[in-house]
Every structure is written in structure tokens, then in C-alpha cells.
């Protein structure tokens, strides 16, 4: 089996090239059909994310020479996306065999991601594989490669802390801080001040954690109503801010106000009504929406964007410390996969060789017994055993060398030689 990867990622290509090359799910299905028509002997899968577009091809044994070249793939992509094939060829990277396997495994384990350890890539790879299966362009070879890649990613996730450290502001805010304060969110009152993108994303994390009672306060009420419709909350007029803040357990603030919208005096005014209930406040605005002095009030846990960025940086650094262990796992899994693939392939060749030898033995045995005429059945059996021993002794050394090569994940040189020497047909 041979795996081939042709494509580019944020490391090799410019982001604008990636944008032009990107495939939507429908486009992926269309492209997979087109590639299958053009390279019918190859299995194909397309992985398209915002940071990479990679086409994986696999072919076994006799069809390895029918794998596409980089130029052919560039032509196809150029035609599909209406781009210049010449420019595209320069930007595409081609990896074969062990290099392609290692690339796939690193990608799935999120070691090749722009944000190392990000969780989305595993799901994106699964989607790519499912689309290929749906389009009937993924067979036994790609199945084995993707399954092994997912196994490697699972090992990285369970044996290192690479994925446990979150690095985006909203995820750190909710998973690292909000969940350290509150056990559950379905009985908490969440207030979103402003309807910015960061606030919306944070709210999505809170909703995923079970938040149900959501109030959105924005100077522009229709925008708050739109967000409330999408996330299942209630929009309120700006004048209600103090009242809702007095009842809130979690506050996310992302306004573009030039001055703090909640001063210390404002907070003190509602403090009695709060009864010193815990308040988790995320001030994601620049400049800040909450007076920093509010953080000193009892029961208030106030986080600014700078605080969360510092936590993100620490987490990213902690992830980097786990990189060597993760790379080691990927290396082990790559070797294991290549050995398994070689074993699968050599197993089929060995079987064919033995069948061929058995056919020759039977042919020669028939010829000999025909010439000898009527012989004792015991003698006939002894002759057959001798033939078997001869064949086994002749085949044992080359087959053992072949198994050794497979175990070591060798390049398949012996296998090819054996096929040629014994003229084995697929």
C-alpha cells in the first residue's frame, strides 16, 4: 500500500491561496467524484479546513504506479476552482509513504495545527473521511490509514495534556474559570452586555455548559433581540442593566464604550440586593467595561481580557511542554501502522507464493506418479511429503526475510523483488 498526500497548509501556502482552494462539503463530494473518475484505481479523501487543503490518495500493490502526480492534482484543482495550474503547482506539497502517513497522523493529533492541540481538527478529519466513504472513494487502504490516525490522536489526547489546556479566550473563560466557580449553569442567570462576536462565542460555551436563563442588554435593542433569538435568551433595554446585574450570576461584557459602564459606585448600589452572592464577571471589552476596583468586592471574580490572555499564553506554553511526548506517540504509531500495512501486503504476497508453489508441487507430483505407474500408497504419501519439505525449505529463508522487513516497516523492496523474481501476479 502507498499513501500519497498532495496539498498545502498554512505553513506552506498563503492564506489567500488556502481560501481559494477550500472545499465546502458539497464541493468536496463533487471533487471526490471527479477525482474518482480521473484516477479510478485510487482511493481519495479531501481534508479542507481554514488552515489546510490536503488530498490523500491510496492505492495498493499493482496500482501504486497509478497514483496521481502533483501536476495532475494541480490541474484538477485549478480546473475545479478556476485557478492558474502553474502557480498552484508551486504551492502544493507532495508527501509519499511514511512521510504522508506521518503528516496525516500529526494533523489528526493536532500537532500540525496553527494552534497546537486545538480540538476541532479531529472532528474535521472524521468529516473528511465520512464524506469520502459516502462518495465511495475511500476503501480498505484509506480506512486503515484514517483509523490508525484517529488511534494515534486518541493516544495523544489520553497520554499527554496537550488537549486539556484551552487556548482561546472564551474557552479558557468558561472551562478554566467559570467551571471552577460554579458547578452547574442551568440554574444560573447569565447576562450579556453588548452583542459583540466575542460575547456571542462566550455565550455559546455557556449554553453548551447548560446555561438557560440568558439576558442580553445592548444599546442597540434589535441587535440584542436578534442574538437572543439565535441563542435562546431574552433581550432587554439598556435602562434595565442595573436591575439585571443585581440578579446575575455570570456577566459577559463586550461593549465598545469608551468609559466603564459599571463603576464601583454603580456596583455598590446593587451590592445589597445581591446579598454577596458570587458574581463571575468577564470583562472582554477594550477599554474595560467594569471598574477594576469591583474585583475587590466580596464574592466578585472579575476577569479582564488581559487576565484571560495571560491564562491562554500559560496554557499554550504548557501545551508546548507536552509536544515532545506527543511527537513520540505519533512516531510510534506511524511505525506501527507502516509495519501493519507491510504485513498486510506481504501476507497476501506470501499466500500467493505458497499457492503458486503448491500448484507446481501438485503438477510435478501428478507427472511423477503417472510415470511411476502403480505404486504403494505409503510410498506415494512419502513422495508427497518430500515435495512439501523441499518447497518449505526453499521458501523459508526468503519468506522469513520478507516478514522481518514487514515487522521493521521497511520500504517493501524485498516484496517487490520477490514479486518480480517469482513473477507473482496480483
Amino acid at each position: 500500500m502507498s499513501l500519497l498526500m498532495i496539498g498545502c497548509s498554512y505553513k506552506e501556502g498563503r492564506l489567500e491561496t488556502l481560501e481559494k482552494l477550500a472545499f465546502s462539503p458539497d464541493q468536496t463530494r463533487l471533487a471526490l467524484s471527479g477525482l474518482h473518475r480521473r484516477f479510478p484505481s485510487c482511493e481519495t479523501a479531501i481534508l479542507s479546513t481554514c488552515n489546510r487543503v490536503e488530498l490523500y490518495f491510496a492505492a495498493n500493490g499493482q496500482f501504486e504506479d497509478q497514483l496521481p502526480t502533483a501536476a495532475e492534482v494541480a490541474d484538477f484543482l485549478a480546473a475545479f476552482h478556476n485557478l492558474s495550474a502553474e502557480q498552484l503547482t508551486q504551492r502544493l506539497v507532495t508527501l509519499r509513504g511514511a512521510d504522508a502517513v506521518r503528516r496525516l497522523f500529526r494533523v489528526v493529533a493536532s500537532l500540525d495545527s496553527m494552534v497546537v492541540g486545538e480540538a476541532q481538527i479531529a472532528a474535521q478529519v472524521k468529516t473528511a473521511y465520512e464524506l469520502a466513504t459516502e462518495s465511495a472513494t475511500a476503501g480498505q487502504e484509506l480506512h486503515a490509514a484514517f483509523q490508525a490516525a484517529i488511534r494515534a490522536a486518541k493516544r495523544v489526547a489520553s497520554e499527554t495534556e496537550l488537549h486539556r489546556r484551552r487556548v482561546s479566550i472564551p474557552s479558557v473563560a468558561v472551562a478554566d474559570f467559570a467551571k471552577a466557580i460554579f458547578e452547574r449553569f442551568d440554574n444560573k442567570r447569565v447576562l450579556l452586555i453588548g452583542a459583540g462576536e466575542m460575547g456571542e462565542e462566550t455565550l455559546q460555551y455557556l449554553v453548551a455548559e447548560g446555561a438557560r436563563e440568558i439576558a442580553i442588554v445592548n444599546r442597540n435593542l434589535p441587535r440584542a433581540e436578534d442574538l437572543a433569538r439565535r441563542l435562546g435568551g431574552a433581550a432587554h433595554d439598556w435602562s434595565k442593566l442595573a436591575d439585571i446585574l443585581a440578579e446575575a450570576d455570570v456577566v459577559v461584557s463586550t461593549t465598545g464604550a469608551p468609559e466603564p459602564i459599571v463603576s464601583l459606585a454603580d456596583y455598590r448600589a446593587i451590592e445589597r440586593r445581591r446579598g454577596q452572592r458570587t458574581l463571575f464577571a468577564l470583562d472582554l471589552a477594550i477599554p474595560r467595561d467594569f471598574d477594576p476596583a469591583i474585583a475587590e468586592r466580596p464574592g466578585v471574580y472579575l476577569y479582564s481580557l488581559a487576565d484571560l490572555e495571560a491564562a491562554c499564553r500559560q496554557n499554550l506554553e504548557a501545551r508546548r511542554q507536552h509536544l515532545p511526548a506527543a511527537e513520540q506517540i505519533v512516531q510510534e504509531e506511524t511505525v506501527r501502522y507502516l509495519a501493519e500495512a507491510a504485513h498486510r501486503e506481504s501476507g497476501a504476497t506470501i499466500r500467493r507464493l505458497k499457492e503458486q508453489a503448491a500448484a507446481l508441487r501438485d503438477e510435478e507430483l501428478d507427472r511423477l506418479t503417472g510415470k511411476l505407474g502403480d505404486i504403494d500408497p505409503r510410498q506415494q504419501e512419502e513422495i508427497a511429503r518430500s515435495f512439501d519439505r523441499l518447497i518449505n525449505k526453499l521458501l523459508h529463508p526468503p519468506l522469513e526475510s520478507l516478514r522481518d522487513e514487514a515487522r521493521q516497516g521497511g520500504g517493501g523492496g524485498l516484496l517487490a523483488a520477490l514479486k518480480k523474481l517469482f513473477q507473482l501476479k496480483e
Binding site: 479558557v172 467551571k179 466557580i181 454577596q276 452572592r277 458570587t278 466580596p298 471574580y301
Partner: protein, 330 residues
């Protein structure tokens, strides 16, 4: 005993290395060691119960009392750690387990508490209630410390994953509140049974320092419970923690007084243990009691002589309670 103390110590040491380096099966190993200690301690306590079967003596010595308390705290730790494997609570629970376990060692030679025949059952109830109250206060203290550390870290924006991952503040606050309310009930019931026992026996040691500190502790807990129930601000955040920590300090003082002070709860070393028979008891609790030794300062080791007769009073009411307490409930 060395066996389970060593198990707890190893579990604690393993937990303490958490911020220093990564160990693949650390949690499993620490839990395994603590569970092994828990099992060994259970076997040891069972043997002690078997040895003292029929005398009801298990809770009647400080040694056993502290060992049982440490076993219960260790059991609470293992249960908590198993139910929340992502948290690291061992560094808070295990020192308390070890303190209770090691604290029992010097008390091994001490005599049992005074236990008059006929009152063994109610004396056991008294001991168990105080034991349960002590364990709940200890657990509340551990969760209070966790709250304080976690709150301190969160106020300073330190992500919880860095070496120490504790339960949420909401959970810790709930444990704190529950511990204040439950321990108030248990300790008050324990003190009440103790008072009734002494009244039934015909003598109540009003000036016993243990009684005084225990009464102080109950008063404090009652005030804390009232605050908890009726003052909303007192239910929140650090205030609950202060209550549980102060309660624990009160408890430690009460135990210190009980162990070291001049009290009928602290028997001398190598005493002549004497369980008085009911006939003697009847004459002691009867309408014409015999004169008693004058003060606890004169205690020579005989359990029966640990009384402060100056404060003894006898009435028909005492006799009725006495009869009631002698009857072991079905």
C-alpha cells in the same frame, strides 16, 4: 497501625508531588494507597471491636475514638476522590487523616472513658454522636481550606489546572454550609446525651473543662447555624469558610482540653479499669448516695472515682432518666 499510617503518608507524598512532575497513574496510585490504608485500618478496628466485644469499649478510649474518626475522614476522602477523579483533594484530606491517626498513638495507653454498666448503650450513642460531629467539622474544615485556596487563586486569575484542581467554589460552599448545620445537630445531640447520662448517674460535672468548651462549641455552632439559616450574606463565600475554620479551631481546643486538661474525659495512664456493676450503680444513684471523692485532682486512675461530687444532685427526674437510659432500645 504503622501499616495504614504509612499508606496514608505515601498517598499524601504522592499527592504533594503533583505540581512538581507529571506521573501517569498518580491519582490511581494515591487512591490505591489510601484505599489500602483504609482497608488495613478497618481490619485493625474490627479486631479491636472483637477484642472488646461485650464491653462496648470501642468508643470509650481516646485511642479508638481518634482512630475511628481518622478512618471516617479517610473514607470520606476516598469516596470524594473516586466520585471526582479530576480533582486533587488529597493534600487537604490526608494531613487531617494523618493528624488524627498519629494523634491516637500517644493515647494508646490511656484508660477508657468512665463507662458505668447499664449505660454502655447510651454512652456509645453519646460517643458516636460526638465522633460523627467531629468528623463532619473536620470535613467542613477541609472543604473550607479548599474554598479559601481556590478562591484566592481565582481572585488572582490563576487557572485551576496548574498543579491543583479543586472542586468548584459552589460545591465547596455547599459542603461548608452542610457541615455547619449537620455538625451543629450532631454535636448538640452528643452533648445532650452526655448531659442526660451524667444527670442519670446522679452527678453532673458542670465545671468540667470539656463540658465547658463543648458547651462553648455548641453555642458557637448554634450561632453559626442561625447565621447560616437567617442571614443571606453569611451563606456566601468566605464567611461560610470562616465559620467552618473557626468551628474546627474550637473543636481542636475542646479536644486539647479533653486530652490534656483536668477532666473526667481524660483518664490517667495504666489505670485500673473498673466497670461498676448495676448494684453498685443503684446505690450510687439512689436517694442516699455514699460520699464521693472530693475532686478530680485526687483521681488515682480508678474510673469509678472520676466524679465531682460537689456538683452532684439527685432527684426523681434523675431516676426516671436513669431508668430510661438503662433500657437499651430494641
Amino acid at each position: 497501625m504503622t501499616c495504614f499510617a504509612a499508606s496514608y503518608l505515601v498517598a499524601l507524598l504522592v499527592e504533594l508531588t503533583r505540581p512538581l512532575f507529571r506521573l501517569r497513574f498518580r491519582t490511581l496510585f494515591a487512591l490505591g494507597m489510601a484505599s489500602a490504608g483504609l482497608f488495613a485500618q478497618a481490619v485493625y478496628l474490627y479486631q479491636q471491636i472483637q477484642r472488646d466485644a461485650g464491653t462496648g469499649a470501642l468508643l470509650f478510649s481516646w485511642y479508638h475514638w481518634l482512630l475511628l474518626a481518622s478512618w471516617l475522614v479517610a473514607a470520606a476522602y476516598v469516596t470524594f476522590a473516586v466520585s471526582r477523579p479530576s480533582t486533587t483533594v488529597g493534600v487537604f484530606f490526608l494531613p487531617l487523616v494523618l493528624a488524627l491517626t498519629l494523634g491516637a498513638i500517644p493515647l494508646r495507653g490511656r484508660a477508657p472513658f468512665p463507662a458505668d454498666a447499664g449505660y454502655v448503650y447510651w454512652a456509645s450513642v453519646h460517643g458516636f454522636l460526638l465522633l460523627a460531629g467531629t468528623v463532619v467539622v473536620t470535613l467542613g474544615f477541609a472543604s473550607g481550606l479548599m474554598f479559601w485556596v481556590s478562591s484566592h487563586r481565582l481572585k488572582r486569575h490563576i487557572p485551576p489546572q496548574q498543579g491543583l484542581r479543586l472542586p468548584s467554589l459552589e460545591t465547596l460552599q455547599r459542603i461548608n454550609r452542610t457541615s455547619v448545620l449537620v455538625s451543629t445537630g450532631l454535636l448538640a445531640a452528643g452533648l445532650l446525651t452526655g448531659v442526660l447520662l451524667n444527670v442519670a448517674k446522679g452527678a453532673f460535672p458542670w465545671s468540667d473543662p470539656v463540658i465547658l468548651t463543648s458547651a462553648g462549641l455548641i453555642a458557637w455552632l448554634a450561632a453559626a447555624a442561625v447565621l447560616e439559616l437567617f442571614v443571606p450574606a453569611a451563606r456566601q463565600g468566605r464567611k461560610v469558610v470562616y465559620l467552618t475554620v473557626a468551628t474546627f479551631v474550637f473543636l481542636v481546643v475542646a479536644m486539647g482540653v479533653a486530652l490534656l486538661g483536668p477532666t473526667s474525659h481524660a483518664a490517667a495512664e495504666n489505670p485500673n479499669i473498673e466497670i461498676r456493676n448495676p448494684k453498685q450503680m443503684r446505690s450510687t444513684n439512689g436517694r442516699n448516695p455514699k460520699p464521693r471523692p472530693p475532686s478530680i485532682g485526687a483521681v488515682s486512675g480508678s474510673v469509678s472515682s472520676i466524679r465531682i461530687s460537689d456538683f452532684k444532685f439527685v432527684s426523681d427526674f434523675d431516676i426516671r432518666i436513669s431508668d430510661f437510659l438503662r433500657r437499651r432500645p430494641p
